[in-house]
Symmetry: D3
C-alpha cells in the first residue's frame, strides 16, 4: 500500500446523526448524481439486490472483509472454527453503526455470511451487510431486518470456495472501490458508496435534489412538462426557492 | 430504411377499446402461442422483469426511443438539459395510450428513465414503459403504478453511458424487433410484441385460448388427465363449445 | 449406463412421513452442510428462484424429465399434441409425493412447463416442480401453490426450442447430478438434493443443526459472541444438551 | 423415448465416399444455407473452436457420448478406471469413419477427452472429435491431426465434474440437437449438423453453391457488383450454367 | 437526431495520406492513451478479435451499417435478395478508403457479412470490416487479406436473426459510440475509434509516444528501470529530445 | 491475515534447477492430476490464454500484485507516474526466476501490463507474466518471448479502471488461490498452480505420468485399446517398468 492508498484509507471522523438523517431521505440515484458532479462515475454496486423490499435504508461507514478463493488444505471446517478465523472475527469486530462490506470476488459457490452472523451483527448494532457474493439462510436473515444486499443466494458452506484474508483494508465490491470509512447508502434499488471526505457535501446536495424533486413532481402532476423543470434550470430553481420561502404552499394556490 | 422496413413502420389505425379489453384478459404466453401459429418464434422480450407484481397489464402500441453509447464530449449534463434532448422529448411526445419502448442496447451502466419521467408519462396518459436496460428511482416508479419492465435497476445518470439518437424508428429491444405501432402486451411474467397488422386476430385467438384453458382447468381439477384435453383436440373443442353453448355450467352438472 | 450409474438409479424405499416432517423444518443450507461432512460439495442448484416467497417447503423424491434441443421437423405442434409425447406423459406419470425435476439444459428460449401442467400435478398430489429452464404462465402457477423453482420465466411454446427425450433417468439440473429417487429439499432460497441412501441420516443431522441454531440464536440475542458458540464446540454442545435436557428453559433462567 | 425420437435415431445407410468427397469441398456456412431452405434454423454449434487452423475438414456420422454432472461418491478415480466406464468405452466403440460427439452440457470444469484418447481414436480410424466442453492435453491432441472442436481447454481430470451416462443416444451439443447417425461437417470456422435423411441432397446443394461462388468471386474480382450476382438470380444462374457448359473458361474471354 | 448528434455526424475532410502513414505506425493502445488525455475513456471495442494475426493495420473513416433483430415475415431470403436490401447496398456504397463498421447489437446467431462481400469490399478499395457480431466463411475472408474484426464466427444466414435498418448513421459497436467519419485504427490486439475532429492531433501524439517508446525500450534493454523513464518524466523527455537531435545514435555511444 | 494464511504465505526454499527441468517436461493436465490425488481440485486458472502458441513453458514461484477498482480522484495519470506506484514497483521488484501473477479481479476495462513492462521483466530475468485481466500492446509483448497468459487483450490505460493495492500477498487469480511462492506451470493450454510445499513430489509424479504416457502412446499406436493401459493398472505399470528397465526398446521388439 503506498501513500495514496493509505491516505484514502485513513479513518474519518464519525458520521454525525445529522448527516445520517439526511442520507435517510435520499435515494441511491440522488447520491450517484451528486458524485457525478464531482467526477465520480463508478459508485453504484451493479447487480446487487436488497434482501427485502421492506428493509430500512442502509447507511454507515464501511468496515471491510476480503475473501480470496479457498484451498482444500487450508479451508477445512476445522480451521473455519478457529477463533482467529477472519470471517468470524469480522462479525465480532465490525464497529456498531458501520456496514460490513464483503468482497467475495463475485463468487456464488459458497456463502459470504449466514443467519446467525446477521443476528449477531444486528445485536451488536451494526448498520448493514453488503456483498458481491451471496448469503445462506436468506429467509432467516430477512427476519432479522438487518439491511442486506447480495447478488444471489449462495447456501453452501463458506470454506467450500472462499478464504477470509483481510479485515478492513481497501477492497473492490461489485466493481466499485471501497476504502474503510467510505459511507454506503442503500435503498430499494441498490447501494452507492461515497468517499468519506465528501460525505457531508454529498448528503446536502442529494437532499436538496430530493426536495426539489418533490416540487417538480407536484408541478408535473399539475400538467407541467419536463422542459424547463427537470433537470432544473436557473429559472425553475428561482421559482422553487420562492416556493420554499413561501412555506411550500399547495401549488394550486400559486398564480 | 428501404421499402420493406418503411412499410413495416407505417402507422396503424388506433388500437380499439374492444381489442384492448381482450388483451387485458390474456397472458404473454397466450399471445406468444397465437403468434407462433403465424410463424413468429421470437416475440418474447427475454430477461425483463415487471417492476411490481401488482402493476396492471401493459397494453399499447409502441412509441420508441433508441439509445447509442455516450461520448464524453457530447453527453455532458449541459447537453442533457437542452430542450432538444431526445430522451426528454420522448417523455413529452410519446402519445397517450402508447407504450414507450426504450432500446438501451442492454446497457445497465446508466438509467434509461427515472421517477419524474414516469410521473410525467403517467400524467400524460402513456400506457407503460419498457426497456432492455434499467431504470433509476425504481421504488418511486413503482409508486406511480405505471406498468414498467426493465432488466435490472441502473441508477447512474443517463449521460454516463447512453446517448439518445432516434425517436419512433424501428428498434430491437431484448433481442426482439419492434416497429413503431406494434402492440406490446405485458403481464406478471414479461412482455410480448404483436406485429400491428395482426393485433386483432391475435387478440381474438389468445382470448379464445384463455377461455378454453378455464374450461380445461375445471376439467383437470375434477381429475381429468391432460391427454385429449390439452393441447385441445377436435373432440375436446367440441365438448368445450357445447359447454359454452350451455352457458358454461358447473362441471359437476355435466353427464 | 454402467453398473455404477444403474445402482445409483435404483429406487429407494418410500420417503417416510417422519423423515418428511424433519425435512420440513430445515433449510437448504442445513442440508448442504450435512452433505458436506459426507464429502458432497455440489448439491445446491445454483441460480434457481422460488416462484413465490410464500410457497410451502419443497420435499420429495425426484422423478425426472430430460429435454434436448428441438429440431424443426420433429418438434412441431402436431407432434407435441401426441399422447406419447414424453413432456405430457411426465405430468401424468410423476408419482404422487414426488418432485418433477426437469433438465432443460439451462435453456430459456421456451417453456419447461405451464400452468395447466402445474394444476394437473397439484391435482395428482405431486410435491413440486423444479427446472433449470423456465416456466410459462408463472402468475397462474403461483396461484396453484405448487412449490416451484425456475431460473427465469420462459413463456414461448416448448417445441420452439426443446424436445422431451427421457423419463426418470439420471440427469443434471443446474449443474448438479440428480438420480431418480434422490430427495429434493427446497426453501425460500433454493433447492438442494440428497442422495437417496443418505436421506435419513442427513435429515436427522440437519434437524439437529437447526435446533442447535435456535439455541445459539437465543444466546446471541442475549449478547454472546459467535466464538465458542458457532460453529458449535464440544463445550457449547454440552451446554446445549444440558439446556435440552432441562426442557429448553428461557435462557434468562440460566446461571 | 417415444416413436418420433426413436425414428429420428434409427441408423442410416453408411455415408458414401462420394458424399464425403462433396462435403470435403463445402463450408459450414454453405451447409447451413442448404438446411435453412429446408426449414432448419438451428444447425450451427455456436461457440466451438477448431483445435487447429490446419486440421482437415471434419466429416462423419455422429456417435454420441452424454455426460451428466459428477457426484463425489460415484465419480472416483477408481470407478473411472473400470472397464465398463462409458467414457472409455466410447473411445473404443465409436465406429471408424464416425465423429465422436460429446455432450458435456457446456461444462468447462473438467475434460471431455485427452490426448491418449485422441491418439486411440485416430488409430481406430475415427473421423473427428467434437464437444461443447473442453479437452485436456490440447497441444498433444493438435499433434494427432484428429479434427477436433471444443469451447475452451479444460485440463482438470474428468471425474472432478462429469459422469458419463449414455452411449449413442440423442443429445444436445452447443444448443443443437444431434441424433446418432446425423452427419457433422466442420471447417475452419465451426461445425454444422445435417439430419441423416438429408445428407445427400444437402451435400449436392452445398457443393453447387460453392461452385457458383467460385464463379461469382471471379466476376467480383473483375469489378462486378453483388447486385444480380449474389445471392444468385435466375439470370445469373443462366450465365453461370453457360459458363460451366463452356468448360469454365477464364472470364476475360467472355463477351 | 438533434443538433448535437447531427453535428457529430457531419462528414470530415478526407483522411490525408500523411495522417494514414502516422496511424500505420501506432498501436491501438497508443491511440487510447492520447484520447484519454482528452477525456475519452471508452474508445476500445472490447471483445473483438482480428481475423488474422497477419492482416495489415486497419485505418479509415467509419461508414456504418446498423442491424436490428429480424422478423420472420420481413426477413425472408426473397427480401434479402432485393436490390434495395441495405446489407447488400452497404457493400456497394461504403466509400473506398473507409471502414465498414457493422452494429450487430452483439448478435452471434447469424452472419454480419460473408466472403463474397469481403471480396467485393476489397475489390472496391474499402479499408476494412468491423462488427460486434460475427462473419461467415471466415477462412475465405482471411484469404482476401481485408483487415477484419469480429467477436466470433457466425455462419448462419443473415436473415435468420438480423435485419439491416440504416446506412451511415451514428451507431454503437461493442459498446463504443461511432459517428460516420470517425476514424478507426486496428492492430493485432483490437480496434479503437478516434472522433473525427481529433484525428490529426491524436495521430501526432500517438506517433510521438511510439517513438519515445522505442527509445525507452533501448534504455530498458541496457538495464535501466522503469522509474524516471516510463511513463516519461520532464527529464527523460529532455534526454530523449537530445537523443533525437543527435540522430538517434546507438545508446552505447551515450555517456 | 491469521496464522494459517500467514503460514501458507511463508517463503519456500528456492526452486531447484532440477525441479524446473522436470516441470519443463510436463503438461498442466499432468500437474492437475497429481494435485487431484492430494485432494486439490481447483488448481487450473480457467479461461486464460497463452499469448503465443510458441512461447516457452512457464515455470516459477509466484510473486503477486493485487489490483482493486480505480477511483477517479486517486487513479490519475499523475499518481500513476509516482515512483511509489505499486504497479510499477511490481515490475522492478518481482525477483528473477519468479512469475509475476496479477489479480485483476477479472477486469478487462484496462490493462494489467504493457509491452515496456514485459521488456523490463524479461531483461530482469523474470520467468513469466500471468493475469486474469488483459494486457495492452500484446503484439509487442509477444515479441519479447516472455511466457504470458491473459483472458483477453485490454489496451486502455491501467488507471481507467484499476488501482494497484498490494505486493506479494495471497491473491485469487481466475478463481484459484495463489500464495506467494506457490509454483506456476503453464503450457500451451493454460496455467496450474502448485502449493509450494508440494512442488517436488508433484513434479516427480507428473513427470512419471508423462513418461508412462509416452509408453502408452506407443502401445496405442500399435493398436492396443485403452482398457488395461490407461489409466494405468498394476499390470500395465509392471510391463512399463520392465520396458524402462530394458532401456525403452522399440515396442516391435517386445514379445
Amino acid at each position: 500500500m503506498n501513500d495514496i492508498t493509505r491516505s484514502a484509507s485513513r479513518k474519518p471522523a464519525a458520521l454525525s446523526a445529522e448527516t445520517r438523517a439526511k442520507l435517510a431521505k435520499v435515494g441511491s440515484a440522488n447520491v450517484a448524481n451528486a458524485l457525478l458532479k464531482r467526477g465520480f462515475r463508478n459508485v453504484y454496486l451493479l447487480g446487487l439486490q436488497a434482501l427485502s423490499q421492506d428493509q430500512a435504508q442502509l447507511i454507515g461507514p464501511a468496515y471491510t472483509l476480503r475473501f480470496m478463493p479457498a484451498r482444500e488444505d487450508i479451508d477445512s471446517m476445522a480451521n473455519y472454527s478457529r477463533d482467529d478465523n477472519l470471517h468470524r472475527r469480522a462479525i465480532e469486530e465490525c464497529p456498531p453503526g458501520h456496514v460490513l462490506v464483503i468482497d467475495a470476488g463475485g463468487c456464488l459457490r459458497s456463502a459470504a455470511a449466514g443467519d446467525l452472523m446477521a443476528v449477531r451483527l444486528r445485536q451488536r448494532g451494526v448498520a448493514g451487510l453488503v456483498t458481491d457474493g451471496g448469503f445462506r439462510d436468506t429467509p432467516a436473515i430477512r427476519k432479522t431486518c438487518l439491511p442486506a444486499y447480495q447478488r444471489q443466494s449462495a447456501p453452501p458452506a463458506t470454506p467450500i470456495a472462499m478464504h477470509p484474508v483481510e479485515l478492513d483494508g481497501p477492497i473492490g465490491c461489485a466493481g466499485v472501490a471501497i476504502y474503510p470509512g467510505d459511507v454506503l447508502v442503500g435503498d430499494g434499488e441498490g447501494v452507492v458508496v461515497i468517499p468519506r471526505h465528501l460525505v457531508e457535501e454529498v448528503a446536502d446536495e442529494a437532499l436538496d435534489a430530493v426536495e426539489y424533486e418533490v416540487y417538480a413532481e407536484l408541478q408535473i402532476t399539475r400538467g407541467r412538462p419536463l422542459f424547463g423543470l427537470f433537470p432544473p434550470t436557473p429559472e425553475s430553481r428561482k421559482d422553487y426557492d420562492a416556493w420554499v420561502a413561501a412555506g411550500r404552499p399547495p401549488l394550486e394556490s400559486l398564480p
